[in-house]
Symmetry: C2
């Protein structure tokens, strides 16, 4: 008799278990590795570096705080904390939004841009060495595609999703 | 004249850039998603759940603190903090190691095992829905292989590596 039912948890197979653990190990180790590299080189964690990059690529090197949180996939409270630290370093400044009393922009300063220029070569070398250089071009492509599918699933179109920057 | 030199940073190509951003987006969103699910369901972040699983699978449901940090790929200080919280919930207890005055074990309690039983179906459903169900079996396989290669590169055999649990 088959006792499985629709309510029975669909436990992971041994192979799925191995895939999931490899994913957890790689992502945990890589984030630690990149944090260490950037802390050593620039005294900032990886997440802060990503914020500077986002601002550098934005028109006039500025983004609304809510847009910046959305690009970085983090909560607004985590972003506020990060921007306060980056402001303390002189790399970012905040500007009020003239059309919206409650809105604020984050702007990359010249010092912030200079810091990014100085730091980028070491960071890209670390990403290459730990990530791209370990994989064949076919593996990059497959990994990129899988990651896009997972990200899209977690960020559905339309309202109502529990996304960090909407909290 | 070709001005490229060995010192020139090997910047990411547009396709590598897209792969890297998809990786960052997927990993950031997924960790947030699993944290939210476990916080709602059990009042603990994803990392704590992983510690309970490790202990549940260990002989006599106990591991040295240093082994547990190594399995979870985290620093001993982060582990101490987590175990103190889990101890507060009655899910883990610490025991001194009789053969090593400075060593300590973490042990999963009956309450901790019960909590894990209660929480596992919801967690595995979230992992399936956000990760495995988004991908074909070929994509699982490719992703698992890529993640294993990245994890191995960051955890080299032999001494001297800057690994979280050795700090």
């Amino acid at each position: 008799m088959n006792t499985a039912s629709a309510d029975e948890p669909r436990w992971l197979s041994d192979e799925e278990q191995r895939t999931w653990r490899a994913y957890m190990h790689a992502t945990t180790l890589l984030e630690d590795h990149l944090d260490r590299q950037l802390q050593r080189d620039a005294g900032m964690p990886h997440i802060y570096y990503g914020l500077l990059v986002q601002l550098d690529e934005a028109p006039h090197r500025r983004l609304r705080m809510t847009e910046l949180a959305m690009h970085a996939k983090i909560t607004r409270s985590r972003l506020s904390h990060a921007v306060a630290r980056l402001e303390g370093n002189g790399w970012v400044r905040r500007e009020d939004c003239p059309s919206d009393k409650r809105g604020q922009f984050a702007v990359l300063t010249d010092e912030g841009r200079e810091e990014l220029r100085r730091t980028a070569p070491g960071h890209v070398a670390a990403v290459r060495q730990a990530f791209f250089d370990r994989l064949t071009p076919e593996q990059h492509k497959a990994l990129g595609e899988a990651m896009r599918l997972i990200a899209e699933g977690l960020e559905p179109e339309g309202a109502g999703a529990d996304l960090p920057w909407l909290r």
